[in-house]
């Protein structure tokens, strides 16, 4: 059986998104070049059980935000399927068919300064999904509902009369959350919701999100580059590298016993608060360009355990404890245990 739970709310299979980044036709003809394709997401599969949080982590450019945008259908996938509560989203062609799903899936964006219309009052921003989906007809009830939503995110109903610029970053992110909740969704896609915020405000938002999940039974797809935030909030964690999911599993499992060399490398790079003065192991090298990814396993140029097979052949995910890992070394059992790898 594949997947962490019996009835996943979201089931993603072999999701692929290519972007055409070719130079203009005339340049291509003159230089005798073909098309250039950026493989932003290259065959990603995972499940998210209802009421849980699945996080995608990885360095910038690994494709995690593209997955988020594919799931809410801001992008059309090149191939693969996204099944939401048993409905295959790729079969929904018209607006009308999409509508019932649209309300149930909402997104929270990274930048609370850019994602709220500065010329709208908060009450109108939060009411927009209610009006779009015609959930409530009369205006007085809409205002009441908006007040409720604002209270749910620990703002006051009176804040509805204000404009976004009157709020701090953390409060704006609360407004985004209230707007996302307005259409009674059961699934929220959160793309780096706290990375523009200070730590004390980040703690407020993370606590709020956890509380809402408990109270409303929400399911989250959480995108972040901050491993500590991911550890705190997730039930399941997927690690992405250059468009591929290299490892996923239960959060605590991935963090306690990371199997893929890339996951180990990322975890070793986290600054440690408790052991002051400890030398952090620097990760060698940088993420290569996704336009010309390395052959075989994308990670092999930075991997200390790479051999000829890694350079030639792309690894297939194999099941491990609570998830899957895509690594020839793990499959062949030739990677040292984590304890010995840190000692070395």
């Amino acid at each position: 059986m594949k997947g962490p739970g019996p009835t996943p709310l979201l089931r993603v299979r072999n999701l692929v998104k290519y972007f055409d980044v070719s130079p203009p036709l005339i340049t291509r003809v003159l230089n005798r070049e073909g098309r250039t394709v950026l493989k932003a997401v290259d065959g990603v599969s995972f499940d998210i059980p209802a009421g849980r949080t699945f996080s995608l982590v990885g360095e910038s450019g690994c494709g995690k935000s593209t997955v988020a945008r594919l799931v809410v259908r801001l992008y059309e996938p090149t191939a693969g399927s996204i099944e939401f509560d048993g409905i295959d989203l790729s079969t929904l062609r018209t607006r009308k068919e999409m509508e019932p799903v649209r309300g149930r899936v909402q997104m929270i964006f990274q930048d609370p300064y850019a994602s709220l219309n500065p010329r709208w009052r908060v009450v109108d921003i939060v009411a927009e999904p209610i009006r779009t989906h015609r959930l409530i007809d009369n205006d007085a009830d809409i205002v009441l509902r908006v007040g409720e939503l604002l209270e749910q995110v620990r703002l006051s109903p009176a804040d509805g009369a204000k404009f976004p610029h009157e709020f701090s970053g953390g409060q704006r992110q609360r407004i985004s959350i209230a707007r996302a909740l307005a259409s009674n969704p059961d699934f929220l896609v959160c793309d780096e919701p706290t990375s523009a915020l200070d730590v004390s405000v980040q703690a407020q938002i993370l606590n709020l999100m956890k509380g809402l999940q408990r109270d409303l039974g929400l399911t989250y797809l959480f995108i972040s580059h901050d491993l500590a935030v991911v550890y705190h909030i997730s039930d399941f964690v997927g690690v992405m590298y250059l468009g591929r999911l290299v490892e996923w599993g239960q959060g605590k499992d991935v963090f306690r016993r990371p199997r893929h060399p890339y996951t180990r490398m990322l975890l070793e790079a986290i600054p440690d608060l408790e052991m002051s003065g400890k030398q952090r192991k620097a990760v060698a090298g940088e993420v290569p360009s996704p336009i010309h990814p390395p052959s075989g396993c994308h990670f092999h140029p930075r991997c200390p355990y790479a051999d000829d097979r890694c350079r030639a052949e792309s690894p297939v995910p194999i099941p491990v404890a609570s998830g899957e890992v895509a690594c020839h070394g793990v499959e062949e059992g030739r990677l040292p245990d984590r304890a010995s790898s840190t000692a070395a």
Binding site: A203, L206, Y231, H232, I233, E274, Q279, R280, V287
Partner: protein
């Protein structure tokens, strides 16, 4: 360590930075005093708007008008530098003080090759000839870990990745062997794996060159593994300053305490993070008394009435009435 032998390279005394506006004067940095010894890394942490970057800018004389140093003084190696003319200050910047800013793309000129920028900086402050300066620039690039520096030196900033660009900026800051380096969020724009490389590099270079470093960041993890001492700023004032281990593991000030608790940590299972209610006050509305009192779980009457000054508690200095024995309701230290 041999702290006794160290002497302060930089001394900042009662620094106050003001912004005169039509509606009155805003005090962005208020009565801040600290020192950095030779070869020491002082971390300065705080949330956005705490005044940490302005403190750095005031030290190097790069405050944007109308911001100005209203009182206090900055002493570098026994010499007062806050009252120098623009031209005198310009000579000190680069030769004695190096700077590393947050965004490596905006601190490099996109129209010049990396080599030209390094050579220009070198020749401004030394009398190296063209060839010598170029050789020195290549040596610097290889010192900061840029592969094939002979090729890279003739490339433009856009041909470098973020981490590589930050290395170039560090090379620029180090090229005259400054005594003091002010690094303002040097790793914030970078991925965690690249961040580690840059931190290791900064630390090694400081050790090799014996420079003092003021590291401004909001990332406690970076501070924990880099700094010798930490200063915590809140609303333009120092809340707490002390050895890194003291401040991080035995925070005294309720703000530091909350700040540390609000950071999620891998391996720490907590259902809820510690939450400091509210947000930092705006400069136009700094509360009376201790600026932290409206958010402080331990605040009492005296906190609203009077501003605490830094007092020595164990090995740290803390600005909090809880630790002042002359004030009633003070906690006893055990």
């Amino acid at each position: 360590m041999n702290d006794r032998e160290r002497r302060p390279l930089l001394e900042v005394e009662n620094l106050r930075v003001e912004f005169p506006t039509r509606r009155g004067t805003l005090v962005a940095v208020d009565d801040v005093s600290f020192h950095i010894d030779e070869g020491e890394v002082l971390g300065v942490v705080g949330e956005s708007g705490a005044g940490k970057s302005l403190t750095g800018a005031a030290i190097i004389g790069l405050l944007e008008p109308p911001g100005r140093i209203a009182s206090g003084q900055v002493v570098l190696d026994g010499r007062r530098i806050d009252n120098l003319s623009y031209e005198q200050m310009r000579r000190i910047r680069g030769r004695e003080i190096g700077m590393v800013f947050q965004d490596p793309l905006t601190s490099l000129n996109p129209l010049y090759t990396v080599g030209r920028q390094l050579v220009e900086t070198l020749q401004t402050h030394t009398d190296l000839g063209d060839d010598e300066a170029r050789e020195r620039a290549i040596a610097l690039l290889s010192e900061v870990g840029i592969p094939s520096p002979r090729v890279r030196i003739d490339q433009y900033p856009h041909q470098f990745s973020g981490g590589m660009r930050q290395r170039v900026v560090i090379a620029l800051a180090l090229c005259i062997n400054p005594r003091l380096i002010i690094a303002d969020e040097p790793t914030t724009a970078l991925d965690v794996s690249i961040q580690a490389q840059i931190i290791v590099l900064l630390k090694r270079l400081c050790r090799d060159h014996g420079a003092a470093v003021m590291l401004i960041t909001h990332d406690m993890g970076v501070i924990a593994e880099t700094a010798d001492r930490v200063a915590v700023m809140y609303a333009g004032r120092l809340a707490e300053i002390g050895a890194v281990d003291q401040v991080i593991n035995h925070a005294k000030h309720p703000y530091t305490h909350g700040l540390m608790g609000s950071i999620p940590v891998v391996g720490h299972d907590a259902d809820e993070l510690v939450q400091i209610e509210g947000t930092m006050p705006r400069l136009t509305a700094i509360p009376s008394g201790c600026a932290f009192n409206p958010r402080c779980p331990e605040a009492f009457e005296h906190c609203r009435a009077a501003r605490p000054d830094l007092i020595a508690v164990e090995d740290s200095q803390v600005a909090c009435w809880l630790y002042d024995p002359s004030v009633e309701r003070a906690v006893s230290l055990e």
